[in-house]
Symmetry: C2
Subunit: 270 residues, 2 copies
């Protein structure tokens, strides 16, 4: 099987033009088939503020009302996505920018009302949740085989005309799992740290390789904690569903991906 | 050769949700291959106003400075394009939303400085002009053959990382001409009137068919004047470059396209 890298970048890179330019250069040099998934960054928050749109946070999750949805659709699927595509085209990477509605590639379900700790029923608004049947792998396959490099913003749709705001980490993971039947697929998360660290304050304490078994041990020992746990839980779940490998590391280390020494590599047991 | 319709809608339809919904229903029912090109409408103007961005008009042409470009990229390529795509997907039309940077499909040239009547040198800013080599017909062909219905916003790029604002009428015409070597291609302009009228105040005075020769006569007689002239000049130029037919008419008459009775049909001499 041919290889495919699904690479996700977050807002920290998008918000910094110099970092973004460096990342796009490194991304365009990744050999083989690849897909980029990008998050949002601070531009949408700033635009919403400038327009006087107040977005509510409930238990750390942002509520996407109709006006906030317009803002994220504009910023993620328009401004950021098209600038990334134009930047990649400059580097002779034949990018094609997509939201989940395009080609019906990512069909999400609007998040149902949720009862939180204090008994309140919360409507997170126009937020889309994904499952293993959300992605049309054949549609992506057609684009990749036609020579395009898909670049996804974190906007999906419900198939009934409604756009939805969706977590970019989840989009990357669900796409990678869906594509793993067609390509030898690796999922690559770029974030602020060098990878999974034994000591969160010491970048040199990087754990280079980790299996699910070892991860369980490190969680038990309290070495891996807080914010890393949901990230790694998701990543190991994706590995269980057919992915070859998941990498977590700093975007500026992307050139080391080709010799498989990027950040922390999460592996299946074998 | 298979048929292809390149259909352009303007801001008047986009600004009216009921008209837009009707149009999308009619568009999705057009038989054979099709491409949609959409203009912008008043949403971008309103957003620029809300953000306090003043855009200058010189001789009726809007200057697109860096801030205005961000606004049109957000609104055209993000908000409007993705909502149209989601609306078409609801109707089982497999739309894929694109800006010119996507797949390097429309590469424009930034408009050069222009000396106007009073001797001033005018910089129209981030505006992209097109010529007969701007469109990659093979890239569009691949998407159409893969079963996608391309939906273009009026945002292009220069190939060097810069997005550019481009006239949607011109995009539609240049795409149609480029595709005419691969499909039996018709270009369809939807606008406010039923078509070319003998009396601009009388919708029943519609001219059903017109050749370039007849157009010249009607121009000479003063029957066709003012705003219609650049539109028709462009349309007849496109016919001269290989298009089968150009239609001009009201969006709500789109169902009549299948029996070739939509609005005014511009034909080559034969």
């Amino acid at each position: 099987m041919n290889t495919l890298h699904v690479i996700k970048i977050g807002g920290n890179i998008i918000d910094d033009p110099a970092q973004l330019e460096r990342f796009l250069t490194d991304f365009s040099a990744v050999p083989g088939n690849k897909i980029l998934v990008h998050g949002g960054g601070k531009i949408a928050t700033k635009l919403a503020q400038d327009l006087g749109i107040e977005s509510e946070l409930i238990e750390g999750r942002r509520v996407t009302d109709a006006e906030s949805l317009k803002v994220v659709a504009m910023v993620y699927a328009g401004l950021i996505n098209k600038n990334i595509v134009a930047g990649l085209q400059k580097l002779n990477c034949n990018a094609i920018g997509l939201a989940g509605a395009d080609g019906n590639i990512i069909r999400a379900k609007k998040r149902p009302l949720k009862t939180i700790a204090d008994g309140r029923e919360i409507d997170y608004g126009f937020v889309g949740d994904l499952d293993d049947s959300s992605v049309d792998a054949q549609a992506i396959y057609k684009l990749v085989q036609a020579g395009f490099t898909p670049v996804f913003s974190a906007i999906t749709h419900d198939g009934n005309g409604q756009l939805l705001n969706t977590n970019a980490d989840t989009i990357a993971s669900v796409i990678a799992v869906a594509m793993s039947g067609l390509y030898d697929t690796s999922l690559v998360y770029c974030f602020e740290k060098s990878g999974v660290l034994r000591d969160v304050n010491d970048e040199s304490s990087l754990i280079k390789d980790i299996t699910a078994e070892e991860y369980k041990e490190l969680k038990k020992e309290g070495v891996i904690h807080s914010g890393m746990i949901p990230k790694l839980d998701n990543a190991f779940e994706a590995i269980g569903k057919g992915l070859s490998e998941v990498y977590i590391g700093r975007a500026d280390a992307l050139p080391t991906l080709k010799d498989k020494s990027f950040g922390t590599r999460l592996k299946s047991e074998k």
